[in-house]
């Protein structure tokens, strides 16, 4: 099949960007979305046009590196919910489709080039408290602290966040609540995370605000596009943790 792609091109963070139109030819349904762009980039290179810059690494939906908005929705979640764009096969499209590709748009995620943006704000939020303070060595036997199976499962549901930033990109307030809530809830659900629960939530939320992310107004767009389908229930849990801590 052949497709029309309208792609955001921006040389760097200092200059203005614009949409450019390309034709992707001989796309087969087995390709992944990123392989389709690879193919287009090969053709562009042959024509002396600089290839489209986009991030990816694992290409199996787990590293959180790939990140762009497809026809208005992060990761193209309208075509296949619960997956990152690297896992989206071209099977979902048909000949002649017109597709628009844009980078994540949020003040806290400045555009670096084309579809690539800077998500280091997330790392700084983790550095502010998203951990259990244990040094290496001298830890108790892993079975010395039993964890309820239900708690371990719930912690895992939150912990599987891949930190891609789709939640921010989908939110009209560019809020990072789902990301931060996932980490806060992961650790707050486990006995190992209790000791620092109070400082953790205060520090992480403080950093989130400092980075320029907006607030949550319960639109649930984040949950709808999350490639790991992380539930907004965790935002409620984070709010409870925050209230407990701030008291």
């Amino acid at each position: 099949m052949n497709l029309i792609l309208k792609v955001w091109r921006q040389k760097n963070g200092q200059v203005k960007g614009r949409f450019e139109t390309f034709e992707a030819k001989e796309v087969s349904p087995e390709m992944s979305f990123l392989e389709m762009i690879d193919l287009l980039n090969e053709t562009l290179t042959q024509q002396g046009i600089e290839p489209i810059a986009f991030d990816s690494d694992c290409r199996e939906g787990i590293c959180g590196m790939c990140s762009f908005v497809l026809n208005g929705v992060p990761h193209g979640a309208q075509y296949q919910p619960g997956s990152a764009v690297c896992q989206l096969p071209m099977r979902h499209f048909k000949d002649g489709d017109v597709l628009t590709l844009e980078p994540w748009r949020a003040k806290a995620f400045p555009v670096v080039k084309d579809l690539v943006c800077d998500r280091s704000a997330f790392d700084r939020v983790i550095a502010a408290g998203g951990f259990v303070s244990v040094n290496t060595g001298g830890c108790p036997d892993a079975n010395a602290i039993p964890v309820r199976k239900q708690d371990a499962e719930r912690a895992m549901d939150a912990a599987q966040c891949i930190g891609c930033g789709a939640c921010v990109a989908a939110c009209k307030n560019a809020s990072a609540m789902l990301f931060v809530a996932a980490k806060v809830s992961h650790l707050a659900t486990l006995p190992q995370g209790q000791i620092e629960a109070r400082e953790r939530v205060l520090n992480m939320v403080g950093q989130m605000d400092a980075e320029g992310f907006g607030n949550c107004t319960n639109m649930y767009e984040c949950q709808a596009v999350c490639p790991k389908e992380i539930s907004v229930d965790f935002i409620a849990q984070m709010n409870r943790e925050y209230l407990k801590a701030a008291r």
Partner: protein, 637 residues
Amino acid sequence: MSLNANIPSGPLAEKWDKHKFDLKLVNPANKRRFSMIVVGSGLAGASAAATLAELGYGVKCFCFQDSPRRAHSIAAQGGINAAKNYPNDGDSIQRLFYDTIKGGDFRSREANVYRLAQISNQIIDQCAAQGVPFAREYGGLLENRSFGGALVSRTFYARGQTGQQLLLGAYQALERQIGLKTVQMFPRTEMLDLVMVDGQTRGIVTRNLLTGRVESHAADAVVLATGGYGNAFYLSTNAIGCNATAIFRAYKKGAFFANPCYTQIHPTCIPVSGDHQSKLTLMSESLRNDGRVWVPKRKGDPRSPDQIPEADRDYYLERKYPTYGNLAPRDIASRAAKQVCDEGRGVGPGGRGVYLDFTEAIERLGKSGVCERYGNLFDMYQRITGEDPYQFPMRIYPAMHYTMGGLWVDYNLMSNLPGLYVIGEANFSDHGANRLGASALMQGLADGYFILPYTLSDALARAGQTKITTDHPEFKKAEKDVQNRLQKFLSIKGKRTVKSFHRELGTLLWENCGMSRNAAGLRKALARIPEIRAEFWRNVNVLGEKEELNQTLEKAGRVADFLEFGELLVQDALHRSESCGGHFREESQTDEGEAKRDDANFSYVAAWEHAGDGKPAVLHKEPLTFDAVQLAARSYK
């Protein structure tokens, strides 16, 4: 030059404790005066950088992704081994040690492997304390499963996302230190050269991938934790960015490259569907706990799998290896799959696939039981293939997966270059000729959390420190070399894309140096690689500029290194005319077609020294001795 592995004396079980006692310590107040560079922030790099910083050293850590949380380690699905014996099924340090030595086909060092088995238990404690949400039993204790090559359940896991959770644990420990300003993190920064001053490793040259700035960093020691080189084969289960550049640049500065031909093919991947593909997807080996592998008995049987009755199916792993059955180790299961496909009994498009069937497991555990164990893997399979694995058996085929070769290191994880340490998949040390499942995560974390911080301190305590800055002429020279090389890529302006060269090299390696090899094929590849390389330097097309984000330029550098490294890999494979582990040499097989090892002639580590461009590498041998285990034919029957 003789290779001294520096293995401590004394009984195997006491070596590490004795060694730790003999290691010199650095006075806490002096630690902050030492600086270290850790290249890589996967399991090995992040755990090492965090631990070194906790001890008080000043650490700079580098990765090419935008965040350390995205290192390739994140993709590991199945699990991590430890000899805890929680399930009370007969496991012990000794047994984990033995399984690993045997699994590696007696081509790894006894002392290293024993230490790995000892440390394995501490890793689980460490990670649980960090809040890694390992799977639990209803009573709240940790749950285990079994993996290929083992008859005990010693694998700890976090759904199908163990690597992710372990890496997030290490990443959080690292971010904690970054927050405390004891680690300076350099994401989107690629190491492009190693700097030696007076025979000591004193730093690296990097390129900032966003601005293109080439910079030098000096330190008292350099640690490479840069992962494996499986992407030399173009198609592999590795992340797109995985590459050999850091270790290959170090090789060119004098570090020995050990056993480059030891690569692992993984038996349970989604088969190749076309030449558009950029990578292959692994289906965790843990699936073989409950899935049964089969092909039709008859060649070219056209029926759909549910129409083929039991009597017409060949459960070939259960038939050939009754003790281990579907849990036969990776090399054995891979080769067996290739054999049935070569016989024309493969399934799916192109006949390069075998069934992995869960019908029986679904009857036994119910769909929900199977879903609880493997749900996300089933989803992933369905997403990629468009088929429902609850309805039809999965189709799988072997793919390039992991590299056991890497830079040579001694017992202290130091290379032959003083001050250069290599950890995780980037070194060659613990897996021999074949890695058993769930052992790479164990090794990466053992190296990073529990071995390197001790052994590195010892070297610093002994060597003291001479101050050096990046103004030193060696840094300036290395920077210039890097700049020239980058400029060269951009100036060629040829007709072919970087990717087309990568694919051509990869296909050549897979066909001639993949699951099975012979001298004729290897010679053919050795003749062809220099031709591809020559064309690359004449005809590659790299657009864009040096001083900006330029992904093609990044790839060009990596592929250029693969084009040289590929030759070393094939040269190593050609010289090792025995079959061992994942490396099946057609000239060396038993009457039954099983791999035949040649202990009399090949019981050594092959460590290659760079002899100058255009000259063949020089072979050094580290003999392997086995005191605690008896060398035996590796049987899983």
